[in-house]
Symmetry: C2
Subunit: 457 residues, 2 copies
């Protein structure tokens, strides 16, 4: 980053922090209809800030829900176009009594800013806006073409984003998707992800006797629906943590030697045990911990219930039992095929005396891009410059549904360059964001825009 940019950042830093505080003060809770006007107010604040920062074609675009804020600056002829995504809505603040400060009156203490949305994602949306503003202030133009698409519904499942993208394919056309809504590996270890796990979720219900039965009057005579559920779910894994659904691993891209080495290096089992409060970790035998999260599929029970849940005992044989299951999928697994294999397995292993209902719910394709993709290289270089350490080419254990949206509809390769930390309490009380990563992140984002055209040449 040249002297002129560094000076501009320095000169405007206090103003930026003041503006960020203003933005964070707006309670843009998308899930709460009583905050509908606040969500719009945040959109308006953001649109206004982009306009003041020199962006063009600033618009608040309506959806059936909360609006999208769009802006662009498209004057870099023959240079790549970067579409920047983030969300200006935030999570609810319950339980409010667990907050040490007012969630919508941001406080800076020890170079950490506390408040709802600081790390997820208003703080990072604000960084994307200031990335452009800083360069425009210093240089009058940008090294790439840039578009902003900031949505107000990410915390409610991006309810209208698919529709919005479908309706604005031309407006959103770009070469690269830049997303600042993820986390770094640790305080001083930046990362850029090239793969995300997908998802296949389902709910299964077993129906035994037509009503709950008294276990004294009928116990021993009839299948207990919970016993059947335990037996059925017990067939899904072997005792080494492998999923035993026939064909489940058939399409899994094997770990390369390099990936395995990286995962081994990054697996700090002692630290993770300590973080989670467990004596031992557990998972698929034969893979280091990080590989089990990044590169191997899982089948997890997320919820299980049937029968009596109150205090003490109720001697009932339950009529029904329900389980919620999600598989995390990796390249090249197909969510629809996995759903079908799992349904087949469940039917084939159904214990006697119960009926099975399988309801397929959410699904998301796993995602990956070539590790030598030029945009990844630019991100890597930019992070190294800003953080003075090599970034790790990482994967993510979760899925980021909007990545699938933009990839599937616009063919965009996503650069997930986020500056939050897992420990920063997003979705929880006392959410916060380290300003040290605001500074270094802003540096990295600017450096990325400068390096990208070189790599994509």
């Amino acid at each position: 980053m040249d002297k002129q940019l560094i000076e501009t950042l320095k000169k405007n830093y206090d103003r930026y922090l003041k503006q960020m505080t203003d933005f964070l003060s707006i309670p843009s809770i998308s899930s709460d209809s009583t905050h509908k006007a606040d969500v719009r107010r945040a959109a308006e604040w953001l649109a206004n800030d982009l306009k003041n920062g020199g962006l063009e074609h600033v618009q608040i675009l309506e959806t059936a829900g909360h609006p999208v804020v769009y802006a662009d600056f498209l004057k870099a002829e023959n240079k790549p176009t970067v579409l920047c995504y983030g969300h200006y809505d935030v999570q609810p603040i319950d339980p409010i009594d667990k907050w040490d400060t007012d969630p919508f009156n941001p406080i800076i203490k020890d170079n950490i800013i506390y408040g709802r949305g600081t790390s997820d994602d208003k703080g990072q949306v604000f960084m994307l806006a200031k990335m452009a503003e800083t360069i425009l202030l210093a240089k009058g133009d940008l090294p790439v073409n840039i578009k902003f698409c900031f949505e107000g519904e990410e915390e409610i499942g991006s309810a209208h984003l698919d529709e919005f993208v479908d309706d604005h394919l031309d407006l959103l056309k770009a070469d690269v998707l830049l997303v600042s809504d993820t986390t770094m590996l640790s305080m001083d270890q930046p990362a850029v992800s090239y793969a995300l796990r997908g998802l296949c979720g389902l709910e299964i219900e077993l129906q035994g006797p037509k009503g709950d039965l008294h276990s004294g009057v009928y116990g021993g005579a009839v299948q207990n629906t919970l016993h059947a559920m335990v037996e059925l779910l017990g067939t899904l894994h072997d005792n080494k943590g492998h999923v035993t659904v026939d064909g489940f691993y058939d399409q899994v891209a094997p770990l390369t030697d390099e990936e395995r080495t990286t995962c081994e290096k990054l697996s700090d089992d002692e630290a993770l045990k300590n973080e989670l409060g467990v004596d031992t970790l557990y998972g698929e035998e034969g893979y280091p911990t990080v590989a089990r999260i990044w590169s191997r599929p899982t089948l997890e029970l997320n919820g299980l219930f049937g029968g009596f849940q109150g205090e003490g005992l109720k001697t009932v044989i339950p009529s029904t039992a329900t389980a919620k299951i999600t598989c995390r999928l990796v390249p090249n697994q197909d969510p629809a095929l996995i759903g079908a294999l799992l349904t087949k397995h469940l039917n084939e292993h159904l214990p006697s005396g119960v009926k099975l209902d399988v309801r397929l719910l959410d699904h998301a394709e796993p995602f990956s891009m070539p590790v030598n993709h030029p945009a990844l290289q630019a991100a890597h270089n930019a992070l190294e410059e800003a953080f003075k350490t090599k970034a790790i080419l990482s994967r993510q254990g979760g899925s980021v549904p909007i990545v699938n949206t933009f990839h599937d509809k616009l063919g965009l390769a996503p650069i997930l360059m986020g500056f939050g930390l897992d420990s920063e309490n997003f979705h929880a009380p006392n959410e916060h964001f380290h300003l040290k990563n605001f500074d270094r992140g802003l540096h990295a984002l600017i450096a990325f825009l400068y390096d990208l055209p070189k790599q994509m040449n």
Copy 2:
């Protein structure tokens, strides 16, 4: 039953029905503190009715909860003393919208009386009162000595009965306990029970990571508490329905040939499948259905829960999982020993990555008396006289905790001569009672009092 008794019954029948309706109209819901005065009102009604019926020493005896109604008639020198037990409290009426009639405005239709408490147990308590009143009206004295002990807390676990019995050992001293709070095998098949299953109940909780985890961020790295629960619970039965807890069956009294034959005769699997709405029955291999309910112990899951239970999916790895378990026990199993064996098994089979907490809850000894007990013979004769068919010497799959109380504290052999039917919706909306069994039951109760001194001579 002689002519004089038959005439007395006939003459007083309409009055009896009118009185029963009055008694049933009092909403004596013991679990609901807003009905505390109603419970007392039911006790007063009953005490008054016993007094009017010629009983002596009628008292409302206080407990720390709802009172006990006591009465006696002790003028049959050198004859056995029968202690009659029943309860005048009733279950709540929720869900009220499922009732076709007002639960506390009893209606008679097609010789069936509808209302809360008709079969469980105010209707049957009323029969015990009228049994004595009818004989006293006809004869001026009774063929045995009789005591009544009607409690108001059976539906809340007889919370203060143990204490009450301890405090009134002399008052309650008797030779035989007569209980009318059970069911017949079917409309025209009376039964008298000589054995009850006992109970050993516990709750287990598994604790994995210290909080719920995101299945994308951590899935694959750490034990899923629900998987551990499924694995652990899966070790409790084999695939033939046997309990696999070491030593579980060691003390079980084997089925005699006669019992097996009776059970085979009484097992109507098609009817039971139809009643329960299942395609197939299930249970311990090698035993007919009725034997599995009456004479074999079980280990049942009554409740199981952990993780997300709402609509759709939440990709969480749950921190805790809980299971509620009860074992139905048969002679000569010891609930304390079974609890210890089960705790040992659970600890020995605990999957890695979770901690186990076992909380022992309710327990009840299994009960049995010799099938040739003279009081059983008297009951058998009385039922045959009233129902014109041989009564079946049966067992009960459930436990009747008050039987243990009276047996352990007063050494009483229980005669469980009940006239309800399993299909009469006790504890449910539209509870009802067949007046045909009111008539035949009252006949049987009177006949029992006459035959008992002959058998016990």
